[in-house]
């Protein structure tokens, strides 16, 4: 097995009295796409900033490429690409200038930086906007430019902090496609998200974080297998009566979860569970059978939905 690219052990980040992260243990292997999943405030971004070597750790240890960020920050930063949660693009400069000037910060010769900028414009589908000022781009274009810019130094590790937050579905799919191509090229990726579908689509392996701690770890599939049944039956009763209906549904599935607007029944066979519901004489307003997802895992582990 190759040397892990990131090793964190007993990693802690504190701001004053507030413990934002940890202690957590994480290992990321080369070529892997690794996700930190959790609601806002779970400590994902703080963890990412420590990995990006822009935030000193409070205690524990952290190694990237076997190097210590405290002593080799610039050397590590030279080998990683960062897509921050908030874009840090130069809004007054053109798309093209944003790319090649950023390359200059990595000490690339001017000609090489411009050559790579042209390649990356192609990759980010921004070639026809090369001379546009960043201010005039759409949100999705800015995000693609941020990703393109983070690749200017041909990073071995790419860090993406909520890469698709605030984008429309179409823009998200374009981004996912680009990230998948990078994975095929062997670029290790670490990303944070609070979108379950994103994590399922992109990540080989992920950890679920809640209140600074890791509450589960595994591949999306294995987490679902471990913590949820194969299918879920979603029952909606008329507004305000979900709570009253809950005890009557009891026992149909292996487990159930009462949410404000619906009841989730976890069962191996969703259709059978629905038939059983009807057999008990219950008349839900609507019923939906679906595959279980990471959202269900998260709900079980933390008792809360992700985006709240």
């Amino acid at each position: 097995m190759p040397e892990p690219l990131i090793v964190a052990s007993q990693l802690v980040k504190r701001f004053g009295d507030f413990t934002a992260v940890g202690p957590i243990d994480v290992e990321v292997q080369p070529g892997e796409v690794f996700g930190f999943l959790g609601p806002n405030g779970a400590g994902k971004s703080s963890t990412m900033r420590m990995i990006a070597c822009v935030s000193p750790i409070t205690s524990g240890s952290l190694r990237l490429f076997g190097l210590d960020p405290a002593t080799h920050g610039p050397q590590i930063r030279a080998r990683i690409g960062v897509v921050p949660q908030l874009d840090t693009l130069d809004t007054e400069l053109s798309v093209q200038e944003n790319l090649w000037l950023y390359g200059r910060f990595f000490d690339l010769p001017r000609a090489e930086a411009k050559r790579r900028a042209t390649e990356l414009l192609e990759f980010a589908q921004l070639t026809d906007r090369a001379d546009s000022v960043v201010d005039n781009l759409s949100g999705g274009m800015k995000r693609r430019l941020s990703i393109a810019r983070s690749l200017i130094n041909r990073p071995e590790l790419l860090l993406l902090d909520e890469p698709t937050t605030g984008l429309d579905p179409q823009a998200r799919h374009v981004l996912w496609d680009r990230l998948y191509r990078l994975k095929q090229e062997g670029v290790t990726q670490v990303l944070t998200t609070h979108y379950m579908d994103e994590a399922e689509q992109l990540c080989d392996r992920l950890v679920v974080m809640d209140q600074g701690l890791i509450v589960a770890e595994g591949s999306p599939r294995s987490l679902i297998d471990q913590y949820a049944t194969r299918e879920v039956l979603e029952l909606r009763f008329p507004a305000g009566t979900n709570e009253a209906a809950a005890p009557q549904v009891e026992g149909i599935g292996e487990r159930q979860e009462l949410l404000p607007d619906r009841i989730l029944v976890y069962a191996h066979d969703g259709e059978a569970a629905l038939a059983a519901t009807h057999a008990r004489g219950l008349e839900p307003e609507s019923a939906l059978v679906r595959r279980s997802s990471l959202e269900d895992v998260f709900l079980l582990l933390t008792g809360r939905t992700l985006v709240d």
Binding site: A52, V54, R77, L86, T88, D90, E97, Y102, F105, R149
Partner: protein, 252 residues
């Protein structure tokens, strides 16, 4: 770092250069020619001015104050913007460069900007017999140093500012008073002693005295070294404090 600043500047340079040229020229005309004709006809004034005409007296003051005003302005909003609004500094912090590189890049850029602005003013002044002097060239260099001596401490302030609320206050209570009472337009000896001492704390007066020595040809090299060392001290201390504060802001 510098090419990044330069690329941003390139978009605006025409307007920018014009305004940084027009303003000192207006002052020169208004004060130098207008007030000058009054001053020069006043017997005895030439002794106070060290034997030169008023226009010749004002020229070095004009160069150095131009650099001061430019560097001060460019070290307020753009610095806060890099940290908080467009967050360019955070983008740079994620690369092998760090806070020290950003601060030194800003210092270099300020020196260049002041060089471009005061150099163009000097070029125009060299066209007129009244103001032509070889001393204009070293005066531009002095202006660059004074610019950095203002830019760096102000950058240190800007880095720890939460909002841009204090900037107008700095302009009103530091930059404009220095402009008026810093020895640029009349000798400091015309002012009460207390005001003289206050004016001498800031780097402006020291730069003006040195530049004036060059333009009217009375160079006291020991004095030059002393004054410039004092100006440089402001630049160095400002750089150190700005670096430390910026590092604290970027790497938390």
């Amino acid at each position: 770092m510098v090419s990044w600043h330069f690329a941003t500047y390139r978009r605006l340079w025409k307007v920018n250069l014009l305004s940084s040229l027009v303003q000192p020229m207006l002052f020169l005309l208004g004060l130098g020619v207008g007030v000058g004709s009054l001053v020069d006809s006043n017997t005895g004034s030439s002794d106070v001015l060290g034997g030169s005409s008023y226009v010749a007296f004002v020229v070095p003051g004009l160069l150095v104050t131009t650099a001061m005003a430019l560097a001060a302005g460019e070290s307020m909003w753009p610095v806060l913007g890099g940290l908080r609004w467009n967050r360019g500094y955070h983008g740079i912090a994620a690369t092998p460069l760090d806070a020290g590189d950003i601060v030194l890049g800003h210092a270099t850029w300020m020196a260049l900007r002041c060089g471009i602005a005061t150099g163009s003013v000097a070029l125009v002044l060299a066209c007129f017999g009244e103001t032509r002097s070889w001393g204009l060239a070293p005066s531009v260099l002095v202006s660059m140093l004074v610019g950095v001596a203002f830019a760096m401490p102000i950058m240190a302030l800007s880095v720890s500012a939460e909002m841009d609320g204090r900037f107008p206050a700095i302009q009103r209570f530091v930059i404009i008073p220095l402009f008026l009472f810093g020895g640029a337009f009349y000798p400091l000896s015309q002012l009460p002693l207390v005001v003289q001492w206050v004016a001498k704390v800031a780097p402006l007066w020291h730069g003006v005295v040195v530049a004036r020595g060059f333009t009217n040809g009375n160079v006291d090299w020991v004095g030059v070294a002393g004054h410039l060392a004092y100006v440089a001290l402001w630049a160095v201390v400002g750089t150190v404090v700005a670096t430390r504060r910026l590092s604290g802001k970027l790497y938390t």
